[in-house]
């Protein structure tokens, strides 16, 4: 389980989570804006 590829997967997942989480929040806000017919000024 603690082989080099598994550790690489763990690091990849940790980096992905940190980078993708704000994008997910942005995606939710963007979808909500679309659904409510709102846009940036």
């Amino acid at each position: 389980m603690n082989s080099a590829p598994a550790i690489a997967f763990q690091i990849l997942q940790s980096v992905l989570v940190v980078l993708a989480a704000p994008l997910l929040m942005g995606w939710v806000n963007q979808c909500r804006a679309w659904l409510q017919n709102r846009s940036a000024p």
Binding site: A6, F9, Q10, V18, A21, W27, V28, W34
Partner: protein, 258 residues
């Protein structure tokens, strides 16, 4: 800018929140099962990590002694103590099906079983969705964009934060939503997840994760558009319903499995 009376706890809390959420997201099988962090904690410890973050955020909110901080902390703890048992009941349903409380084992069992519709998991999924909304300060329990004193919960706790501390807290909130969504995927739609070290399965796992996140994000936005925010005093009823659905899911599992 930091309040004059802020203690070191106030400065430390954003880092603790970020660390807890990052740790939780490291435990959850997002892309692959069998990761080195996976044995570090099971579903009970995972709920404990979320609870630790909640305790620190409530303490930091009360630390500087503003009325909004205390108000937000009390409301957060009210929601938290109702949401945690509901969350545990939900996760126990999946744990009973797979015979383990380890997330990786649960995902392995659910992802590689023959396709079957589990009524218990359907109840658990609805309960989990309700807990996700409550724990992540989303409508109908909280409104992440409001600053009305009558309604805000999470925002009231972080009003005194600014600059890098506020950025870290907002980042931690985003990671928490990500972690909750991936826990939901792992339990209720685990298909496409890779095994650790299997590089060939990584592109499929990544594509499946992105597709699930896009759909779940759009679904969350749709829910928040369709639902109105509940009064705070209706939050216990909402979360009691989630707890009840979680318990029903467990009972149905025992009834069906005999």
């Amino acid at each position: 800018m930091i309040a004059r009376d802020a203690s070191p706890l106030f400065r430390l809390t954003p880092y603790v929140l970020f660390g807890c959420m990052w740790l939780a997201a490291g435990i959850v099988p997002v892309l692959a099962t069998g990761l080195p962090f996976a044995p570090a904690a099971d579903i009970i410890a995972l709920v404990g990590v979320f609870a630790l973050a909640r305790v620190f955020s409530a303490l930091a909110a009360m630390d500087i002694g503003t009325s909004f901080g205390g108000l937000g902390a009390r409301r957060e703890m009210l929601i938290g103590f109702l949401a945690e048992p509901a969350m545990l009941m939900t996760l126990f349903t999946a744990a009973f099906i797979s015979g383990s409380t380890q997330l990786a084992t649960i995902v392995d069992t659910l992802a590689h079983r023959e396709f079957a519709i589990y009524p218990s998991l359907a109840f658990a999924a609805v309960a989990f969705l309700m807990v996700l909304l409550a724990e992540n300060a989303r409508i109908p329990i909280d409104n992440p964009t409001t600053h009305l004193e009558l309604t805000m919960v999470h925002e009231a706790m972080i009003l005194e934060y600014s600059a890098r501390h506020l950025a870290l807290i907002e980042w931690a909130v985003a990671i928490k939503l990500f972690a909750y969504m991936t826990i939901g995927f792992a339990f209720f739609v685990p298909w496409g997840i890779a095994e650790a070290g299997n590089w060939a399965a990584l592109p499929v796992a990544l594509a499946a994760l992105l597709a699930k996140l896009a759909l779940a994000g759009a679904g969350l936005a749709l829910l928040e558009t369709l639902l109105a925010k509940l009064r705070l005093f209706l939050a216990p009823e909402f979360l009691s319903s989630a707890f009840l659905l979680g318990v029903l899911g467990m009972l149905i599992h025992f009834l069906v499995s005999g």
